[in-house]
C-alpha cells in the first residue's frame, strides 16, 4: 500500500528544546493511524510541519506526494485538518461557516451546496444547519469540525484531539464517524490523541511519541505482544495471568513506553 504521509528524520527545535526529534514514520493509504503521546510530546508540532504551517529544523516529509515546505498550498488543498479546539464564527450559522470554508477552497457555490448538505448529513447535523454555531454543544461543534474537513473532499484527514472534552456518548459518535469515513470512503486518517481506550477502538496502527521521539510503532497486537514479552522477561514469569493470556491493554503499553526515559 502506498504511503500518504512519509517523514524522514523530521526535527523541530524551539530554542533549546527539541520538540520533535528525528521522527520517521509513515501513514499508509486507507488506514487510521493513531498518533499517541502525552501532552507536549510533539504531536501538534509534527502536524503543523506536515501541513506546512511550521518549518522543520531539519529532515523532510511528504504528504500525498507533496513536500509541505515547498508546496504548502497543494497539501492544504488535499488534506483536511481539524485543530484541537476547533473554532467557528459563532455568530454565523453552521451552513455559512461551511460555506466560507468551501469558498476558501475555491469551490463554486453551485457545487458546494451539495457537498455541505452531504457533509452535514454525514455528521448528523442536517437539522441544526441553520442555527448559529454559538448555540452548539461541544459534541456538535466537534462533529461540525469533521463536516468542515469533509467539505474539501480530502484524501487524508488529520485530527488533533478530536474527542477532547466530550462526554462518553459524544466520544463514541465521533469515533464511529471517523471509522466510517475510513471504511466507507477510504479516507486515510491521522488521529492524534493522548486518550488510549478510544484510539484503541478505531486505529489500525499506532505510533507512540514521547518527548519528540517515536518510541513504538505497529498494530496494537504487535505492541501488546512486545509488551508481554518485555514484561515476561523483566518479571521472569511473575507476570499476572492476564498478561500471559495476551490481555495486556494499551494502557499498559502506554505506561511502559512513557516510563522509559
Amino acid at each position: 500500500m502506498a504511503a500518504v504521509i512519509e517523514t524522514h528524520e523530521l526535527t523541530k527545535i524551539y530554542g533549546r528544546q527539541k520538540a520533535v526529534d528525528h521522527l520517521t514514520f509513515e501513514v499508509r493509504q486507507g488506514e487510521i493511524f493513531g498518533f499517541l503521546g502525552p501532552n507536549g510530546a510533539g504531536k501538534t508540532t509534527t502536524i503543523l510541519m506536515l501541513l506546512g504551517l511550521s518549518e522543520p529544523t531539519s529532515g523532510n516529509s511528504r504528504v500525498l506526494g507533496f513536500d509541505p515546505v515547498r508546496e504548502p498550498l497543494k497539501v492544504k488543498e488535499r488534506v483536511g485538518f481539524m485543530p484541537e479546539n476547533v473554532g467557528f464564527y459563532d455568530d454565523m450559522t453552521a451552513r455559512s461557516n461551511l460555506q466560507y470554508v468551501a469558498r476558501l477552497n475555491s469551490l463554486p457555490d453551485s457545487q458546494s451546496k451539495k457537498r455541505i448538505d452531504d457533509a452535514l448529513e454525514k455528521v448528523k447535523l442536517a437539522n441544526e444547519a441553520n442555527k448559529p454555531v454559538g448555540a452548539y454543544s461541544r459534541g456538535m461543534r466537534q462533529r461540525l469540525g469533521i463536516a468542515e474537513v469533509l467539505i474539501k473532499n480530502p484524501k487524508l484527514i488529520i485530527l488533533d484531539e478530536p474527542t477532547m472534552g466530550l462526554d462518553p456518548e459524544g466520544i463514541n459518535s465521533v469515533l464511529e464517524l471517523i471509522k466510517s469515513l475510513s471504511v466507507e470512503e477510504g479516507i486515510s486518517v491521522l488521529l492524534c490523541s493522548h486518550l488510549l481506550h478510544q484510539t484503541q477502538k478505531v486505529c489500525d496502527r499506532v505510533g507512540i511519541l514521547n518527548r519528540g521521539r517515536l518510541v513504538a510503532k505497529g498494530t496494537i497486537e504487535e505492541l501488546a505482544r512486545e509488551g508481554i514479552q518485555a514484561e515476561l522477561a523483566s518479571a521472569n514469569g511473575r507476570g499476572t495471568p492476564a498478561d500471559r493470556r495476551g490481555l495486556i491493554s494499551l494502557e499498559d503499553i502506554y505506561m511502559r513506553y512513557f516510563k522509559e526515559e
Partner: protein, 314 residues
C-alpha cells in the same frame, strides 16, 4: 483573498459596534453641519456671495468644533474599533489555525483584513461627505463649485489615509498582543497620547529649546516653528494641518498664528487671493505622503510579524 475580503466586509457592516459608531459619527456630523450652516446663513445674509462658502461648512466651528476637527479627533477611534481585534479574536476563537490550514496564502488573510477595513472606511466617508453636502446645499442654498468638490475629494482621500493609519496600528496591536482587551487599551492609549500629549509636549520642548520673549517676534516665530515641527510627529496634527489647508484656499501655509473667525475670513478674502487647487495640493502633498507612509510602515510591520509568527502559538 477575495473570499476573506468579502466576509470581512460583511462582518464590518453586520457588526453592532460598527452600526453604533456609524450612527454616532453621522449624528454628530449632521448636528455640527446644521449649526454651522445656521450660523453661516445668518452671518452672510444680505452680503454678496463669497467664494468657497461651501467649504466653510466643514471648516468653521459651530458650537464647539468644526467637522474636520471632529474627524481629526474621532477618526482614530473608528480605525481602532475596526482593527483592534482583527487577528487576536480569530486566534482566541480558534478560527485562525483553521483559516491557515485552508489553501490560502498566509498574507492573504492580513491583506484582506486590511483592505476590508479600508473599504469600509471609504464607504463610510464618502457617504458621510455626500450626506453633509446635501444637507449643506439645502441649508445655505449654495451649490459647491467644481473646485470645491475637488477639494472635498482630496479631503476624503486624506481622511481615508488617516483612519487607515489607525486601522493599521490597531491591526498591528492585534497581532502582537494576544489578548483582545490589551490590544484595545494599547491602541486607545496611543491615540490619547498622540492626540493630546504630543501637542502639550511639543510646546514644552519648544520652550526649552527656544524660550519666547513677548517683545521679540523673531523668537516667538522660532518657538512656534519648533513646536510645529515636533507636533508633526503625531498623525493627528499632520492630518489636521493638511485638511485645514486643503479645505481653506486662503491658507497658504499649514500653520497660522491667529485664529480667524468666519467674518474675518470673509473680509480677508476681499484682499487676499485664494490659492489654486493645485497649489493647495502641493502644500499638503508632503503631509499626505507622510500619512500614507506611516500607514504603510504600520502595515509592513504587521505583515512581517504575522508572517514570521510561529503557528504553534496561534
Amino acid at each position: 483573498m477575495f473570499t476573506i475580503f468579502r466576509k470581512e466586509i460583511a462582518d464590518h457592516f453586520n457588526s453592532t459596534r460598527f452600526l453604533i459608531l456609524f450612527c454616532l459619527v453621522i449624528g454628530v456630523a449632521l448636528l455640527t453641519t446644521y449649526t454651522v450652516s445656521m450660523n453661516l446663513r445668518s452671518e452672510i445674509s444680505g452680503g454678496a456671495k463669497i467664494e468657497y462658502l461651501f467649504l466653510m461648512l466643514f471648516t468653521t466651528s459651530g458650537q464647539f468644533f468644526s467637522l474636520i476637527q471632529f474627524i481629526a479627533f474621532f477618526g482614530p477611534l473608528i480605525g481602532i474599533i475596526m482593527g483592534f481585534d482583527a487577528i487576536n479574536r480569530e486566534r482566541s476563537a480558534g478560527t485562525l489555525s483553521k483559516l491557515l490550514s485552508q489553501p490560502v496564502y498566509r498574507d492573504a488573510i492580513i491583506n484582506a483584513k486590511f483592505l476590508a477595513g479600508i473599504a469600509t472606511i471609504s464607504i463610510m466617508f464618502v457617504s458621510l461627505v455626500l450626506l453633509l453636502s446635501g444637507l449643506g446645499m439645502v441649508a445655505i442654498g449654495v451649490v459647491p463649485s467644481g473646485q470645491e468638490a475637488a477639494r472635498l475629494a482630496v479631503y476624503m482621500l486624506i481622511s481615508i489615509a488617516y483612519v487607515g493609519f489607525w486601522l493599521g496600528m490597531a491591526i498591528l496591536f492585534s497581532i502582537i498582543l494576544r489578548s483582545i482587551g490589551t490590544a484595545a487599551l494599547a491602541s486607545v492609549a496611543l491615540w490619547i497620547f498622540v492626540s493630546f500629549f504630543v501637542g502639550f509636549g511639543s510646546g514644552l520642548i519648544a520652550d526649552v529649546i527656544a524660550p519666547t520673549d513677548q517683545n521679540n517676534p523673531e523668537l516667538m516665530l522660532k518657538n512656534a516653528r519648533i513646536a510645529g515641527a515636533i507636533s508633526r510627529v503625531s498623525p493627528v496634527n499632520l492630518y489636521s494641518d493638511a485638511t485645514s489647508t486643503i479645505m481653506d484656499p486662503y491658507r497658504k501655509t499649514t500653520k497660522s498664528f491667529v485664529l480667524v473667525g468666519p467674518m474675518e475670513k470673509i473680509s480677508m478674502s476681499r484682499f487676499n487671493s485664494a490659492l489654486s487647487l493645485w497649489q493647495s495640493i502641493l502644500v499638503v502633498a508632503p503631509y499626505l505622503t507622510t500619512l500614507v507612509a506611516l500607514t504603510a510602515v504600520c502595515f509592513a510591520v504587521s505583515y512581517l510579524v504575522f508572517m514570521r509568527q510561529e503557528v504553534r502559538s496561534i
